[in-house]
Homo-oligomer: 423 residues x 2
Amino acid sequence: MNYAQMNENQLSQELSRLKEEYDGFKSMNLKLNMARGKPGQEQLALSLPMLDVLNSKSDFKAENGIDCRNYGELTGIVDAKRMFSDYMGVNENEIIVVGSSSLTFMYDSMARAMLKGVLGSDKPWCKYDKVKFICPVPGYDRHFTICEFLDIEMIPVPLNEDGPDMDAIEELIKDESVKGMWCVPKYSNPLGSVFSDKAVKRLAAMKPAAKDFRIFWDNAYAVHYVYKDVPVCNILQECKKAGNPNMCYMFGSTSKITFPGAGVAFFAASEDNIKFVEKQLSAQSISWDKMNMLRHVRFFKNADGIREHMKKHAEILRPRFDSVINALKNNLAPMGIGSYVEPDGGYFVTYIAPKGCAKRIVELCKEAGVTLTGAGATHPYKNDPDDSYIRIAPSFPSIEELDKAMEIFCVCAKIAYAEKLSK
Amino acid sequence: MNYAQMNENQLSQELSRLKEEYDGFKSMNLKLNMARGKPGQEQLALSLPMLDVLNSKSDFKAENGIDCRNYGELTGIVDAKRMFSDYMGVNENEIIVVGSSSLTFMYDSMARAMLKGVLGSDKPWCKYDKVKFICPVPGYDRHFTICEFLDIEMIPVPLNEDGPDMDAIEELIKDESVKGMWCVPKYSNPLGSVFSDKAVKRLAAMKPAAKDFRIFWDNAYAVHYVYKDVPVCNILQECKKAGNPNMCYMFGSTSKITFPGAGVAFFAASEDNIKFVEKQLSAQSISWDKMNMLRHVRFFKNADGIREHMKKHAEILRPRFDSVINALKNNLAPMGIGSYVEPDGGYFVTYIAPKGCAKRIVELCKEAGVTLTGAGATHPYKNDPDDSYIRIAPSFPSIEELDKAMEIFCVCAKIAYAEKLSK
């Protein structure tokens, strides 16, 4: 029965029944975690053979003869540039292969923009009274943390199933202090949105008042399908066509392909951007970890090798996503308790709780031993005005753990909603 | 015969003889490089077994059970913190083990100070009209590049055999815009200076006008002796004793212990500094490459393992340093052509050319196929007012190559000096 149609008495009965069930879970002293998008054990095992491709007997030369054990090659070894430029759909002179984290490189790119500006800047961004960034919401908490740390004001715009609200964005970019925006174009964190061709083309054709505007295109889940691989239009190519070749910065990494934090990250952009950034980077680094680049290239051979590898990840992730989605579908949807988004890929399932219930659900889950990402994390300044969005990360727990965690989650959602209706 | 005592005729004869010799070298079309402090092949081979300690069959858990293949542990795995805190002479809560380059972490630390300030700052350094840094000279070009890139004004002070000119420094720090200084306390780049206990204690006891003053203590060559291991007083302990616990930032890495650019770097400071920096870092990173940390810890076991390993490096480096020093001693010193510094360790030999000759020597060497670090690189803004300092890096070439390169170097030095005297 739909909770909203229950009378006071029915609600009260349902609530006491739910609390009994909840207390049962609590007494189990469980410790389950659906908070972070961490690959699980089976996924990590997929990349173990990569550790064997470099050993004391290996040849450590890159294709061009560079010794990967020594200093040099600030923009990465040619072998890695080839593989990851194919992966990113750019030319080999449009990529820099860097350290082990794309998040770090995004932070670094923003920090450099603040300190020194980007190609085409009149002055460093920190010299403006105010710098603003457009943030499609719900979005990735760590993007927001970077902006908040660097005192960049965040302006939320709604993210829809097929991309951000372009009308809102085209209005916002008339303000010269709006210097850029975050995008996760494919299987977005957490909503799983995939930007439509129309959205990508419209983004690429923008004419922002700030001539040093940058789209931070975090293509974190480029090959991370779960149910269906959905192609996304290439932002760099579209920017070129639209006469805005320098407007986008693309980021990617193998963190969720091989080992989180011990993979390889890369940055793609127009050749002019790359040259400009390379010069700036020469103050920060002599070279990044070429041994790990070589390890990755020798293991995957090429971008197709990565794509093949991702099929195995999808096989492992699918039953986990099924577990979460089925729980929401069977236990909450029929009672009209919130809604959820079924993604085609990525790392998350978004549950949209009835207004004002998200924080309470996370709190109830926590008390029963189920850790979730904090409510609000999906929004700048942790401010979800509806208190609705909850990001569920199904990858790390076992299926048994997930089933149990989702059972508890659904009971918590029911309690929170019933409490709200009872007020 | 001492060149300075030659008459015009003798000089002219000597010069034509030298040019003949020089042309002979030129016709050999050599390609020799004494420019960068890169470990040579034999040195790199010492660490190859490290690549075998992690393979697909390994256990990937750190001591505290953390899986090194996944996200987490922003400050590094406990195993690595223990080993490198012993190495740096600090407590385990006074260290953060990071990515593969201490230079990158120095840049990052300076960039964070500019953007957000350090513990105790009233405001970010970039909000001051002017930020200045004290730079002992001759020094490391990449330190200077960081300052130049970040628009930090560099003030050179003389570096002596036992440390920097403390009288000059104590005068400079009365200026509140002087926010810090660079130090390479042991086997300094390029001079090989080792700071005396007195110098370290005097540095630690400074009372700078800027209360957020930081000593950037780049202990790059902590265990890198060649002839003699010379102990250096621990700056953090001395700062604590002097009531300045937060005044120093210590940096180190295994770049010249295992693989340059593919090693592990670390940052040590007071516990309060570490807490403050950790919080700032959480905007930049989820975690650094823990697999490489584990690889290093499993290979070396502990700091003593590193020290044992460095004995092998010293064995390999010693004949190379001998080659350079003997060439200078036998071919230039007797003719009174410049002077040189015999270091106990580190990666460089400094040749101090007669005034106004360094650039010419580097140019002559280059034309004869011998690449050297650019003259002036040892000074801020590449400005060596005497045009005297030349940094020679003996590690990378084979001994045969070094012998030949130094033969050419000495002829070039003679020509430059003879030319100068002839003017």
